[in-house]
């Protein structure tokens, strides 16, 4: 058996070469002990497979095999002599993994990019725990990190959302994938957990949150009983009857929590890429770079895992979506000039029809024609296709006829009718966009409803919430409004008011209400309304709340910053399936003086002591006139004089003893 293939893998080297000759083991198993490196890593990776034992092939190696170096399960079972024959005939093994990048220009020179990855696991053994030492587990493209967590916590469905930024629904239309893949600002997590009772489900939920917190380097571990809700109308799994229960005496629990405005950063993207079999080094994921993703105006990272069963065979299906919206001109400008500098005088585009001088002028509107490459937006080119997957990587552009989209493979340019391109082999790919009129874009789907929520009131002891719903369409919208508020907002549901121009009543709009009041430090307020909003109307719901005072130690270090309130979720059921979130809110509570504990304890105790002591004194003692009191005090020797006389007597006695001793 010959050995040693070396991949020299650097961005600047256009040609990657691989000398592959033989493989011992049946399959290429993603090796978790190998450090996959960060997204930014571009240095060469050397992988060696030894002659006798090469179980640790890195996945990167697998994805770069030539079409001629074929692998099959049969390889290992056959004798060594047959190998040459099989190599020539058998197709390369393919794994259930699929990836696609969709690029869609939006109005005002924005561009939406959607990275979609789908994968599924091998068959699961029902009823066998991961911890059983003899259980044989085999991971192909499904991340090994995730599967034990799901089994240990008996999670049947898992949904994670990391979202940040504002989606401008008025001009950009519907959220990508009808909003089903993006959360509210911050981190959102919900799961369907199998358990025998609610307490067990909650325990599983907490350990799930803690495990994911470690996996994604985020503060998901801050999810606790104060933030957890059990949604009743929202977040329902699409096909409930098909959800498997491994133990028939158990039940399924839908549990959800969100961390409002939790910062999302590069360290959250890296684990996302690590879950992919390509690790961000091949295929479309090679474009993903933390600087570019988190520079965008809006981005959303999502993971959905589902358990699907056919008979006794169950599999995990996972969808990992990374969505972002960025402003093309500013991204290009940043690529050209990483450090912004003022423009040169001749580069300024002044509107000379308006008043101007050599220092100030009105700028011209942005140019309508544009021409740019994808590599300029993302800083890199697409490094080949994901070769282990069943389908080659795809890149699609959703554009109107005013746009011309080309793909360049090496130095050759191609175009297609539907602007969808297949990324092949190990070549560097780049996409070229050209347009005469950037305003002419593929018509975005109109959002079926606009919802905005705001805080009212000015004091720090009470306030109100006001939610404005606007239905721009010609059909009545049926939707569910979900809200989870922290316990220190003491909500008065009786103050619910509806304002509308057309004189609607509350009963016309709110068809049913689910309300679970908050318990201090134990449960958030959980509110769900079934709404029916008539066509072409806007209406506002408002309700009042009181703010509680927290204990001294319960305030965060920056207490005066305020408390983040998670976004409300609106799930549209009719006329289309659509999901959206309102923005998060910042609630300011009144704060005590944090430097006062000792003073307060002392002052309050003083007043209490003063009142009690004086009363006790009056009730226990006898009233006498001052003359009598004086007389008594003069007739009766005080403590001091008595002590003095006592001491002098001792002294005298001691002196006597001394004298006696001397005499002896």
């Amino acid at each position: 058996m010959r050995t040693s293939f070396v991949f020299s893998w650097a961005l600047l080297v256009a040609q990657t070469y691989a000398n592959v000759t033989s493989i011992d083991e049946e399959l290429i198993i993603p090796n978790e002990t190998d450090t996959a490196g960060t997204v930014f890593e571009t240095c060469p990776i050397v992988t060696t497979s030894s002659e006798t034992d090469s179980t640790s092939e890195s996945l990167e190696a697998g994805s770069l095999f030539n079409d001629t170096t074929e692998l099959d399960g049969a390889v290992n079972e056959e004798g060594e002599g047959d190998r040459v024959v099989l190599f020539e005939n058998v197709e390369p093994i393919k794994y259930p993994f699929q990836e696609k990048l969709t690029l869609k220009p939006l109005p005002r020179n924005f561009m939406a990019a959607s990275f979609q990855f789908q994968m599924s696991s091998n068959n699961l053994t029902v009823g066998e725990a991961e911890s059983d030492f003899d259980a044989y587990r085999h991971y192909t493209v499904f991340p090994k990190a995730l599967s034990p967590i799901l089994e240990y916590t008996q999670t049947r469905q898992l949904h994670i959302r990391f979202t940040h930024g504002r989606w401008d629904a008025e001009s950009w239309g519907q959220l990508p994938h009808r909003g089903s893949k993006s959360g509210g600002n911050g981190v959102e997590l919900w799961a369907v957990i199998e358990a025998s009772n609610k307490n067990e489900a909650f325990d599983n939920w907490i350990s799930l949150a803690n495990s994911l917190s470690g996996l994604f380097c985020s503060s998901i571990n801050f999810i606790d009983i104060e933030k957890t809700t059990y949604p009743v109308l929202s977040f329902q799994p699409a096909k409930k009857e098909s959800m498997p229960i491994f133990n028939s005496s158990n039940h399924l629990f839908l549990i959800r929590a969100a961390l409002a405005n939790e910062p999302i950063c590069t360290e959250n993207l890296t684990p996302f890429l690590k879950l992919l079999p390509t690790r961000g080094r091949a295929g479309i994921s090679s474009l993903l770079d933390g600087h570019k993703v988190f520079d965008s105006n809006w981005h959303s990272l999502s993971i959905d895992v589902e358990t699907r069963c056919e008979g006794i065979h169950c599999k995990y299906y996972m969808e990992e979506y990374i969505e972002m919206v960025f402003n093309v001109p500013s991204s290009l400008a940043r690529a050209d000039k990483p450090i912004p500098k003022p423009l040169q005088e001749d580069a300024l585009m002044c509107d000379e029809s308006k008043p101007h001088d050599s220092y100030e002028c009105f700028p011209l509107p942005q140019r309508k024609e544009t021409k740019f490459e994808l590599s300029k937006l993302f800083g890199k080119k697409i490094i080949g296709s994901s070769l282990i997957s069943e389908y080659p990587s795809k890149v699609c552009a959703v554009v109107s006829d005013a746009w011309n989209v080309l793909i360049s493979v090496g130095d050759v340019f191609y175009s297609t009718d539907d602007n969808c391109f297949t990324v092949k082999d190990k070549e560097l790919h780049d996409l070229h966009f050209e347009s005469e009129n950037t305003a002419d874009i593929a018509e975005p789907d109109k959002a079926p409803i606009f919802v905005s929520r705001s805080l009212t009131g000015y004091g720090q002891d009470s306030g109100g919430l006001r939610v404005v719903f606007r239905n721009p369409g010609n059909e009545t919208v049926t939707a569910v409004y979900f809200e989870s508020l922290p316990w220190y907002m003491r909500l008065y549901l009786s103050s619910l008011k509806l304002e509308s121009e057309v004189g609607l009543e509350i009963e016309d709009v709110i068809k049913s209400t689910f309300y679970l009041p908050a318990i201090d430090r134990e449960r958030p307020t959980h509110l769900e309304f079934s709404l029916s909003i008539p066509a072409n109307t806007s209406l506002a719901l408002s309700y009042q709340f009181d703010k509680a005072l927290l204990k001294y130690a319960e305030y965060p270090p920056d207490a005066n910053h305020g408390f983040e309130i998670e976004s409300a979720v609106v799930t549209v059921i009719e006329p289309t399936q659509y999901e959206m979130r309102t923005s998060t809110l910042l609630l300011s509570l009144s704060t005590p003086d944090f430097s006062m504990p000792y003073n307060v304890i002392i002052l309050t105790s003083t007043i209490m002591g003063l009142a009690f002591g004086t009363l006790y004194n009056l009730m226990v003692k006898r009233l006498v006139t001052i003359e009598e009191a004086d007389k008594k005090s003069s007739s009766r020797r005080g403590l001091k004089s008595r002590l003095l006389s006592f001491f002098s007597r001792i002294k005298r006695n001691g002196g006597k003893v001394d004298v006696e001793k001397k005499q002896q």
């Binding site: 316990w487 103050s495 009056l618 006139t625």
Partner: protein, 390 residues
């Protein structure tokens, strides 16, 4: 009942009902002020309870309702706003009337019987408290009914009334001790009736609350454990905000003991003046309770006219008057500075709550001192004599 008394009662009803109907926004303003409303007495939480009952939501599963179940059930029977205003006005008028009736019980008093009632009517603290529709009015009514019946020797009604007061806001239950001193006979029977009434009330609450005992914590547990920390005029709130976590259970026990501490000593020391002992106990509770309002303070101050003969002995009357004025003027201002404007901090309002406690304490000490003096003088005031406790 003579014409003057009738006028007082009519004025009371007219002023309460008139203020509520002419200034409907005043109610909401006052209900939001910390001086007149607390989580356990506020009208908006009562309204929330009525709303929850009408919509079949759980009433005491967390949330903001801390009123007794029967009170919520009673309020849910009233649908019109004016009816509710009338109910509060009537309850307050009853108190005024009972004050007049109490004054008649003291035949030797130099005071015309209508004066305590009239002072009650013009007492702004009580007026504003009623307009804010604080449920303090109902427990005050129960207390004054108990006191009047005990003075008249009607032990059954007194016992039942004090049980109702205890049922509505817990701490007035302690007043059963001075009330026993007030009643000449049937002491055991009174205790028994009080216990029986309270049990009946609690059991019927249990029935009305879908056979669930969870209302006990939401109503009485909240009062004892002070679990809803909202600023008020009492001594508790800032103490428990600032206290270190591990000491909190201990100090909650201490504060509760503090409420109980003076009840029996007052009743024993002044058992010869039982009415007076009753008022002392009431003011002690007002000083030390976890969720006090100015409504409690106003109610307490309306008993001061009964002690007309003691006025000469008061040592700090100027100071306590100034302290009360200080509190009523500065407390809304300081609270506004802290919570709305942010130009002051919590210590401003805390200082006011200390001053209020000090004001009540000086009144209490003055009353005790004056009674001890008049005891010494055996009923004939000799103001020239200088005395000291020894």
């Amino acid at each position: 009942m003579n014409l003057r008394e009738l006028q007082v009662v009519a004025a009371c009803l007219a002023s309460r009902f008139g203020a509520s109907t002419v200034f409907p926004l005043l109610q909401q303003q006052l209900d939001k002020s910390v001086e007149f409303s607390t989580p356990v007495t506020s009208y908006r939480s009562l309204q929330e309870g009525v709303f929850l009952i009408r919509n079949d939501f759980p009433l005491y599963s967390g949330g903001v309702v801390h009123h007794a179940p029967l009170l919520v059930a009673l309020m849910s029977a009233f649908s019109s706003k004016n009816m509710v205003s009338l109910l509060y006005a009537c309850a307050d008028t009853m108190i005024a009337f009972q004050l007049i009736a109490m004054a008649k019980c003291f035949s030797r008093s130099p005071l015309p019987s209508w004066v305590p009632g009239a002072l009650y009517v013009i007492n702004p603290l009580v007026l504003l408290s009623t307009v804010s529709k604080s449920s303090v009015v109902f427990s005050n009514l129960a207390i004054s009914t108990a006191l009047l019946s005990a003075l008249q020797g009607n032990s059954i009604i007194a016992a039942m009334a004090i049980a109702v007061a205890g049922y509505l806001s817990l701490y007035p239950l302690l007043l059963v001790v001075p009330m026993l001193a007030l009643l000449q006979k049937d002491k055991l029977k009174t205790v028994f009736i009080t216990a029986a009434t309270l049990t009946a009330l609690l059991l019927s609450s249990y029935k009305i609350n879908d056979e669930n005992w969870n209302y006990l914590f939401s109503t009485y547990g909240v009062i004892i454990t002070f679990s809803k920390i909202i600023p008020n005029l009492g001594l508790w709130w800032y103490f428990f905000v600032e206290l270190f976590e591990m000491f909190i259970p201990f100090f909650k026990a201490v504060f509760n003991l503090f409420v109980v501490s003076c009840i029996i000593p007052f009743s024993l020391r002044f058992h010869k003046q039982p009415f007076y002992a009753f008022i002392l106990c009431l003011s002690w509770i007002t000083l030390t309770k976890s969720y006090p309002t100015l409504g409690d303070g106003g109610f307490l101050l309306s008993f001061v006219p009964f002690f007309r003969p003691l006025y000469g002995y008061f040592r700090y009357s100027v100071i306590s008057t100034l302290l009360f004025i200080h509190v009523t003027v500065l407390s809304p201002i300081f609270y506004h500075l802290w919570v709305d404007l942010g130009s002051g901090n919590s210590n401003f309002f805390y200082a006011i709550s200390l001053v209020y406690a000090l004001g009540l304490a000086t009144v209490l000490v003055d009353l005790v001192w004056a009674m001890l003096r008049i005891e010494y003088d055996k009923g004939t005031p000799n103001l020239k004599l200088k005395m000291t406790p020894l």
